[in-house]
Point group: C2
Chain length 285, copies 2
């Protein structure tokens, strides 16, 4: 393979390019295209439908932030449901919490899981952990039919095109509310404040119509266009800062490359241009 | 000009590309190349030596953050020195503070100023404000020779290659310390936590050896590679959070697209991977 190969993700009139040294896997599932490439500067990279899902160099940012923010707000999370997350990175981080007894992960696309197990051991390392039940199924159908209750639900989805589209609808969040315990928290991949303002507003409006409290928090990684990226954080009553005890982070004995107790409080402070169009739906900090 | 023209900034094995519809200015000064292009999705863009300095779409992020964070920590900033900042965006934001009586801006490259006045009125709008003295000179020589005292110094520089290199040395910061009043603050463009870790460490080491307290704060915009970007914040004693009064932001009557009182406190919480190598030099939050 010639050395000047680049993978490019376009986002309107912007594009991010990463130098690629080898294509490790390239497949077309029933749902999307799945590629794993070796990049020159960012480790291995997973792409779904040509969009960067993760790079080994910075995947810790996304996986720290989707996991540890809610798991350190919930007072005693024992059961966690992950919707999506086929690369395994979110499950890996959830399973670092010793108090978590059961993780159910529902990924629609077996090809993502298989490709990750073969080519991305860094993220897939805990996919055969005995506390994890991995189900290959539609997450929307799963929450519609499940009678099980969870403390935390993490919606670790791709963008709302292709297979993830129903994950951005009200029925899905009604069912998540139903499968959550009384002190439950749901966190969802919330798109770019820069490039997906309408989608972000729609998601926040839907979630806040169903949950007691709704917030946005941000992170920044190298792989997603525009730098800044967000999660929605909704609860049946818990507050992400007032109910957060920084001592628990220290007492956990866990070390994080991105997450820390200061950042936990800081990440809920979002820029004015992002907050203003969402103001009507967001709970106060 | 053909419609599929892109401007590309490479950063190692990563590159960011913006679609360009027109080249408005292209010059070579004694110090660097200076280009202004019209992009399709991000307004006009200024590039020095091929590196993105700003786009009209998101310049408010950088200019809000370099300016309002220190100006709302200092109890009564009346005089501000800007080193660099030839596009005028930092001066524009400083001059929004009614209490600021005098701004001295020392830009080494007249071509940047002239190109901005002609092509970037959005940032250059206040360059003929009567409270501003614009000096075309070397900022390093200026602070070495100046007898004037300032409340706040903003080092709004390009990357430490080309003309900005001496701005990353200890002599420069010794002289800034000398021209600052007793409650003075200096904020400097602090590079990327991802791509410039050594440079960031060097700058923080130098600054913290001269100033009483040293901090890092972050922001994220669309135009800089890797998303996350940082400023160093050093003082003769003031603390950026303990000495910050959120009421003053409200009372100022100013509206900001990026900056707000929550974000002020949040932006000093930096990721663990960034904080750890700087821990020895940073003051505690």
């Amino acid at each position: 393979m010639k050395s000047d190969l680049w993978v490019e993700e376009k986002c309107g009139d912007y594009a991010a390019r990463f130098r690629v040294t080898e294509v490790l896997f390239s497949g077309q599932s029933d749902f999307q295209s799945v590629d794993v490439v070796q990049t020159a500067g960012h480790g291995k990279m997973l792409l779904n439908d040509g969009l960067v899902m993760l790079t080994e160099r910075d995947e810790f940012v996304y996986h720290d932030m989707i996991t540890h923010v809610p798991l350190f707000v919930h007072p005693n999370p024992k059961s966690v449901l992950i919707i999506g997350g086929g690369d395994g990175g979110t499950a890996r981080e959830v399973l670092r919490h010793a108090g978590v007894e059961r993780v159910v992960m529902v990924e629609i696309d077996k090809m993502v899981v298989d490709a990750s197990i073969e080519h991305l051991p860094q993220t897939a390392s805990e996919l055969s952990n005995e506390r994890l039940e991995l189900i290959i199924d539609d997450g929307v159908a799963f929450v519609a039919n499940s009678d099980e209750k969870f403390d935390v639900v993490l919606v670790d989805s791709t963008d709302p095109i292709g297979p993830a589209q129903p994950l951005f609808g009200p029925d899905f969040y009604q069912n998540i509310h139903r499968v959550l315990n009384d002190d439950g928290i749901v966190v969802s991949q919330g798109e770019s404040p820069w490039y997906h303002q309408e989608m972000q507003a729609k998601l926040v409006e839907i979630v806040s119509g169903i949950f007691d409290k709704t917030f946005i928090y941000n992170f920044s990684n190298m792989g997603y266009p525009g730098g800044l990226w967000s999660f929605t954080f909704a609860t049946k009553g818990l507050h992400p800062i007032a109910d957060f005890d920084a001592d628990r982070v220290r007492q956990s004995g866990l070390n994080f490359e991105y997450y820390n107790a200061d950042l936990h409080k800081g990440c809920f402070a979002i820029p004015s241009f992002q907050r203003k169009p969402l103001e009507a739906w967001l709970s106060s900090l």
